[in-house]
Amino acid sequence: MVALTVALIAQAWPSIARFGARFLWTARWDVNKQLFGGLTSIYGTLATTLIAMVIAVPLALVIALLLVELAHPLVSRIVGTAIELLAAIPSIIFGMWGAFVLVPLMQNHVQPAIQRTPLGKLPLFTGPPFGIGVLTAGLILFLMVLPFITAVSRDVLRMVPQVVKEAGYGMGSTTWEVTRRISLRYGLSGIVGAVFLGLGRAVGETMAVAYVIGSSHRFRISWFEPGYTIASNLANEFAEAGSSLHRSAMVELALILFAMTIVFQLLAYAWLRRVRSHTGGRA
C-alpha cells in the first residue's frame, strides 16, 4: 500500500512539477500542445458523485427502514436479497445497460422533460439532450451505490435495542417518528460512516461511468453535457497516452482520486468506530 502511494507520486511528479496548483482548476487538455488541466475530470467526479449520493442516501435509509420495521419478514428477505444481488453485478454490465437502455431513455424522455419544466432554465440543465453526460452517469452511480448504503443502514437500524424502540412507541409515536427521532439518532455515527464509504466507492467507479459520460475534456457546467470523471478518463486514455507528460498528468489525476478515496475511507472508519452517539444538547 505504501508502495502504491510512492509509485503514484513518483509517476505524477513531472506533471505536478510542470503545472503546479493550476492543474486543479484549468480545464485545458490538449495533447498536441502538451497542456493539461484536470478541472473537467475533477468537476465530473464531484458532480456525478453528488448526484448519486443525494439520491441514494435518503432512498437507502428508507429502504433500510422498510427492511427492519415495516415489511413482513419474508418480504424483507426477498427485498434484501434482491438488493444484494444488485451489488454483485459487475460495473461493466451497469455500463452496458446504461449506454444502451438508460441513455436513449434520457435522451428521448427524461432530459427533454426536465428542460420543459422551470428547472430547464438552470445552467445545470442546458444544452442539447443527447442522453449522455454527467446526469446520466450520476444516475447509474446511484444504482451502484444504493445497495451498499442500504446494507449498512439496515445493520445500523437493527442495532437499536428493542426496549428503546418500545419506549418510543409506548409514548405514542408513529413508526416514522420512532425512526426519525430515535433510531436514526441512535445509529447516526454508523450511518455517517456508511455515507463516507459510499462516497469512496462512488468517486472511484469507472466502467459504468465511462460508458455514459461522453468522454469529453471540454469543461461545461451543465449536467446534460458530456464530460469526464477522473476514473473514466484514466480508463479511456491511459493505455494510449503518448508522451510521458501526458501520462504523468493522468497519474496526477489518479493521485488526486486516490487521495480522495483514502480521506473518505478514513473518515468513514473514524465515524464507524465511535461509540454510538448519545447526542446531547437541546434541539
Binding site: V163, A167, G170, S277, H278
Partner: protein
Amino acid sequence: MVGTAMEMSATDTTTPHEAVVPPRIEVDDVSRTAPAAGGRLTTKLRVENLDYFYGKQQALFDNTIDYYENKVTAIIGPSGCGKSTHIRTFNRIFELYRDQRASGRALMNGKDILSSSVDVLEVRRRIGMIFQKPSPFPMSVFENTAYGLRLHYRMGRSELADRVEDALRRAALWEEVKDKLDEPGTALSGGQQQRLCIARAIAAEPEILLMDEPSSAIDPVATAKIEELIDVLKKNYTIVIVTHNMQQAARVSDYTAFFFEGYVVEYGDTRQIFENPAEKKTEDYITGRFG
C-alpha cells in the same frame, strides 16, 4: 360511599367479594400518609375477559381486573406467569409484533381501548410505561423529558422548559440533573436513568402509569427512591406495577393481583392478600413454596 364489586377469578372457584372501602394498609417498615379524602373508589381501567396469544399459544386466560384510580395495584407471580404480558396489552405495545394478539376488553373512561376503533396513539398518550431496563432515548436529559410533550403538543419554548423542570422535580431528579440538562440521557447512573424515564412518562401527563419491574435492574438505594416516588405519584396517577419482589409489592401497593400461568388467581386488598390469602396457591407463593 361508592364501592365497586371486586371480582376474583381463579382456576376453580369464583367467589365474589363485596367491596368495603379498603382500610389503609399499614405495613411495618414504611410509614404511610393519611388516606385520600373521602376514600372513594372509582375504576380507572377495567379489564374484562382478556385473553392473549403468541401465535397459537395462549398466554393469558380470561383476566378480569378493576384498576382503581389513584391507587397502586401490584401484580405478582412467578416468572412466566404473564404479568408483563398482561400490562403490555393496555398500551397495545404488542401490536408491534406480528403474531401476537389479544381479545377481550379494556375499558378506560368508558371506551374499550383494545378495539381498533380507538386510536392507538391516543391510548399511548394516556398510558405511560416504564420498562425494566432503563431506556433513555439517545438525546439529552432535557430532550428525553420533553419528548412526549413535543410529540403530542404545540407549545412555546418557555412553557416547554417549565414543564420539563416540573416533571423532573416530580420525579425527584431535578436537583441532580439541573446542571446537566444538555448532557446525554445515557450519561446518568442506572437509578437516575430510570427516574428520567419516569419524568419522561409523567411530563406528558398520562392517566395511567404502567411499571414493568421498574427497579429490578437498579441498585437498592435507587430502588428505595423510586418506591418513595410511587407513593407520591399515585396522588395524580393510577399506577400498575409488576414486580417479582413481594416485599416491594407489600410496601408500595394498595391492591395486589396474584397471577399464575396466565390466570388471575386472586385479587384484592394488599394487606389481605399478604396476611390472609384466600387461595392456597397464593399462600404457597407468598410463603415461598415455589416461584
